[in-house]
Symmetry: C2
Subunit: 319 residues, 2 copies
């Protein structure tokens, strides 16, 4: 038995850690790759110089493949693409933008390209651009999100059979049972963000990790639909945006609130009052900070248990 | 092997058709029950007199168990509860309200009670109220929806192991693969709305069914968060609400737009311009109007295929 995502990425286990701003540093990425998954460095919060530093440290910390996530709307994206090529990273995950922009250039340099999509339209666009796979990311995901608000369950179902390239499921996944469910729905691998954001190896601030761990159902919501839909953890900053939106705030008024330094302040420096806290809906399920090794053990154990439990179901759906 | 939902409801297949306003009449309900599932009559759009008529016709059309969905915020809810008791229906599904209100009274009259919840808090409340099961309905579902916007994938995961009563998954389910995925995540049955709303037996207007069938990704969105979050199909009525909300419309202003006759106008009378069209996110996946018999065949076939395909996955998640 083989797995096409493992084949493409030359990894052992088709679990990818999302390239999250301010959380996905070289340490988290190399730890995930050392467990047999694929670790991603989140270039969205990095200048080209800092990205280079993280790539070098990641190469020192693992001899396994790892990747970089580059949000294409980011001011540094073109320079970060050049850094990825210079250092011949194994794979670039592009997101939040047009997959035709850099895919061919990366492929010409021997780098695999996987694009993050939130609907069928962009999935086909990514396939046509020559991407090796897509990450199908649902409404549950933290941070920037698709405008159609399609959930992981519906997105996987509507994508099934529509592509010739494999699908990596993302959004709301924190357990091995959900991994098996996603594979049952046509995914060949998963990308997990929130769970790794709270891991011991994540570069997120301890205050941020604790806020996520202590959060409960309904504590993340999608806001900023007029700019770019973003899932945020509730708190002071969230409330400012919510109140403005409830009063009909324009794009300009919202831009004045969000300000560029807020994500760093919240997620990296731990200022829970003034900072922007981006996290997925499954935050409500996470109750402790685990190491990457513990997370892989947990996910594999739950996946195997799910397989065993299937024996208790009949195949006809008639009782 | 047995199935606790089938045991409780005395049915053969743990598939329940949602009790949808203007779509779930006696004909749809009895057709689903005749296929071995549980059909629900949607009392939310019925006066007590009309509900009685539908119960009588449903009893004439099937000797199998069927149920009624009664939204508790509805003006007729108390009278409809009395009708359910008078006619000793097998089971009442309560929704959109407090499960402690009528559960004991129904149980005392030998009627099973299942409450629709959208978060853990209300699931526990339903269990404590004596309900026999809960329907865990995610953000994908059509019509009225939970304030926390928890998706089916996350809701099932966060509920698993928290209840002593069984869980019926709902929201976004249109395939047998998704049914198996839901059962893998801890559900013992499923409630399906959108797919049955478009069925040949549904009392929804043909214009409404065709609009659902022709819709594509992103064509349903959740609006009306300031009143009661509601998933609607895009169109003229949707646009009126969306534009008002974007400008910060108050509850009063929104109430002026929605008006009580709109759902009937849209879903039952087929006025796609002025009517309110409530439908789930999985509308994008449905491309034809099937009979209830065809839907059951399709779901069972896909469920069985999903079982077979599991053989192609390894149990260790290591390749």
């Amino acid at each position: 038995m083989n797995n096409i995502i493992c084949d493409i990425l030359n990894i052992k286990t088709p679990i990818i850690s999302g390239g999250m701003v301010w959380c996905s540093n070289w340490f988290l990425a190399s730890s995930v790759s050392n467990q047999g998954g694929l670790g991603l460095i989140g270039a969205g919060s990095m200048t080209p110089e800092i990205l280079e530093e993280h790539i070098k440290k990641c190469k020192d910390a693992t001899n396994k493949p790892f990747g970089i996530n580059i949000p294409l709307m980011n001011v540094n994206s073109e320079k970060n693409i050049a850094v990825a090529i210079k250092h011949k990273v194994d794979v670039v995950f592009t997101s939040a933008g047009n997959p035709t922009l850099y895919t061919q250039r990366l492929k010409d340099n021997g780098i695999k390209v996987i694009h993050v999509i939130a609907n069928n339209h962009f999935a086909l666009k990514a396939q046509n651009a020559g991407c090796d796979a897509v990450v199908a990311e649902g409404f549950e995901a933290g941070g920037h999100n698709g405008k159609e608000e399609i959930t992981t369950l519906v997105l996987l179902e509507q994508l099934r059979g529509k592509l010739n390239i494999p699908v990596i499921a993302a959004g709301g996944i924190v357990s091995g049972k959900q991994i098996l469910a996603a594979m049952l729905l046509g995914a060949q691998g998963v990308q997990i963000g929130t769970l790794f954001a709270t891991s011991k190896e994540s570069s997120g601030h301890i205050n941020f990790k604790n806020a996520v761990i202590n959060s409960t159902e309904g504590d993340t919501m999608l806001l900023l639909r007029k700019l770019s839909p973003t899932r945020l953890l509730k708190g002071n900053f969230f409330n400012m945006i919510k109140e403005a939106e409830d009063k009909g705030a324009t794009e300009e008024e919202l831009l004045n609130i969000i300000q560029s330094g807020r994500p760093k302040l919240g997620m990296f420096e731990g200022d829970l009052t003034n900072g922007e806290l981006e996290i997925g809906q499954a935050a409500s399920i996470i109750n402790e900070s685990l190491s990457v090794e513990e997370i892989f053990s947990k996910l594999k154990r739950e996946y195997k248990e799910a397989f065993e439990e299937l024996k208790n179901l009949n195949k006809d759906l008639v009782f």
